[in-house]
Symmetry: C2
Subunit: 387 residues, 2 copies
């Protein structure tokens, strides 16, 4: 991903009113505060933070998110692993189960000097890793209730995988890891705390079983933004992996992970059509600019495809949301008449997304602003894709 220098010149130092839309904005001050808050919380619990870069996929963001007590990051794809590895990050956890077909690609990444560690949840895959010849550090993924990937702490496969890894000449057991993604279905903080404890207990149990069987388990990792934020105990946990907390989004603010004003990511968009008779405004931000994620649909508050603010990220239009998206059109329905005095064709707005991981992935760069100011202070590249 190469950014056109002329394009950057048209963005850097310019007011938001002059920026071509749609574009992705990142508030650096809010990002910095969100990162500091999570680090302090995790340190207060006596643990350390491995920031998950799957959301922002930006080396500049990673430098702000890094926990100096840990130094490692998590990623969701081998492409991200390469991007960060090439930029000097030496402990990169690819927090997903890799099939043996990806081992060659994983080895190529480690040849540049980075330590790449990844998840396994299947004895056959562990055997393939041990037989491969590549130097692999492996996490055994534990299912703490999400039922996506991972094995239960009492699954006989736990010890089988650990034995296979130990027997391999170039494979090392990194530890056990889990992701309590089912915390997103919670509707109260009490419920999230219960899931956080379930997450902790599952992976600590797995570590105990392994240690009782004689294995060394240096790392015990949990992670999801809601459970990390609301965890009250980190007993037995060596690291938290989380990522969405950095930028935040409407799902997270609705879940109670952060305040509405903490959301650091937004999409800059322009009004392209108004119909006062139909009480409708159309923006140049549609399904591609916002993603089709409807994460808040089943939550206590439904924000459609995103919430519209002014250029200072303030809700001056009441609760104005994107009602419908087409590929490049975002329709706003039931617009109050007063809003037609504020927004005309050409007016610019910001849109806060439901799910920042999905929305940010539509952009190859982040336009950096500071604390709701309206000048682009920096242009950060980000990586996308898989290969």
């Amino acid at each position: 991903m190469r950014i056109n220098v002329t394009d950057v010149a048209r963005q850097l130092g310019h007011a938001l009113g002059d920026i071509q839309t749609p574009a992705a904005l990142l508030d650096r001050e809010k990002l910095t505060r969100n990162c500091a808050r999570m680090r302090e919380h995790v340190h207060a619990l006596g643990s350390r933070l491995r920031p998950h870069m799957k959301t922002l996929k930006s080396v500049d963001a990673a430098k702000i998110a890094l926990d100096p007590l840990h130094g490692g990051i998590a990623v969701s794809t081998l492409n991200e692993a390469r991007y960060f590895g090439e930029r000097g990050f030496s402990d990169v956890c690819c927090a997903i189960c890799l099939p043996p077909e990806k081992f060659d690609a994983a080895v190529r990444l480690t040849e540049s000097g980075a330590r790449l560690n990844f998840f396994v949840d299947d004895p056959k895959v562990a055997l393939a890793a041990a037989d491969h010849g590549g130097t692999f550090e492996i996490w055994i993924e534990i299912d703490s209730g999400e039922h996506r990937t991972g094995i239960k702490p009492d699954d006989p496969a736990l010890l089988e995988i650990a034995s296979t890894i130990q027997a391999g000449h170039h494979t090392t057991l990194m530890g056990v890891a889990t992701h309590a993604g089912h915390s997103y279905a919670c509707r109260t903080i009490a419920d999230i705390r219960a899931v956080a404890e379930q997450e902790r207990v599952a992976v600590v149990d797995a570590a105990s079983r392994l240690r009782n069987a004689g294995f060394s388990v240096p790392n015990v990792s949990v992670g999801s933004t809601p459970t990390a934020i609301h965890a009250v105990s980190a007993a037995g946990i060596t690291e938290f992996r989380a990522g969405v907390y950095m930028a935040g989004d409407l799902v997270q603010s609705t879940l109670g992970s952060l305040k509405f004003d903490d959301i650091a990511f937004s999409v800059l968009a322009t009004v392209i059509s108004t119909r006062r008779d139909r009480r409708q405004i159309v923006l140049d931000a549609g399904g591609l600019a916002l993603s089709k994620d409807r994460g808040t649909k089943e939550m206590t508050h439904d924000y459609g495809y995103g919430l519209i603010t002014n250029l200072s990220a303030k809700c001056v239009f009441g609760e104005l949301t994107i009602s419908e998206v087409h590929q490049e059109h975002g329709e706003v329905h039931n617009v109050p008449q007063s809003v037609f005095d504020q927004l005309h064709v050409g007016s610019k707005v910001r849109i806060l997304p439901n799910h920042v991981c999905m929305t940010a992935a539509m952009y190859d760069r982040l336009l950096v602003v500071d604390d709701d100011a309206q000048i682009v202070q920096a242009v950060w590249s980000r990586t996308n894709g898989w290969t």
Copy 2:
């Protein structure tokens, strides 16, 4: 968008089993047949085709889709307009209302020699175009029932916009255009035919009003894949704009726009976890690889987040669909026990998408195969983003 040469070397000429996943596959033979069928249909109606490149965004695909009787294409963003303009396409219709803030960028595109024409639905925007100084060819967008953008054929603004364009020294009236996007809500072919006729009548009416008032209206344009395919009359229509028909998807096959076996686009994915006890398989294609489009949800047939086939695009697993997506995980629920004998960790499958425009946009290249064969015959770049 620059493609890494080493990456291409790892894909070109290789069997699908050796390709890193997720990846976007395009069947060139199916694409070619879909394009020929639409051209022949439109020619039989006595009209011409302006293929809309918003789906594939690839110069190689555009060469196959082009109608030699027309020569022009449609696009959905200024970025696409630049991409195609720089590659020699001289009649590029940016089929969306541009706000005045984008006029400078539009002028920069025409400086490379391409003719860029775009939509307007607001007298103030027409005035801004006439006053701008740039050489602009303008379509007046008509609302034929979708109620997204555009004015009704009997809106007084119709003549006002035309007068303003005519009065401008560098603005020309290209014609009238509409998009019957509401055809996607139809559930029978008869209903689609009715919408196609409504679409035709609306734009022909607008052209008549303009001509009766003395304006020259050289072009009358309609477009949506369902209405283009099922239109029975093109009386008064000089061109059809459509795009999804080239690649096809599950929404289009469910609507009856093409046959299931005509779908030319699919996502190549790998099994990364299996749980026979939970009857669950997990693929490395999640919300980013497939998009979160749930276009078939409210249709007569719900395919979840996509339908799984074997590497020859055959439904050998019964109707196996992606039930749930996370960022990089696609969960398949209720997997029949027999499928666990066919699919293991590392097995590769193809996934047909709900909405190809959304899914293809997640990839910067298309791996080209011929007629369900399993060898990558070519690697086509595509463009994404807006600036």
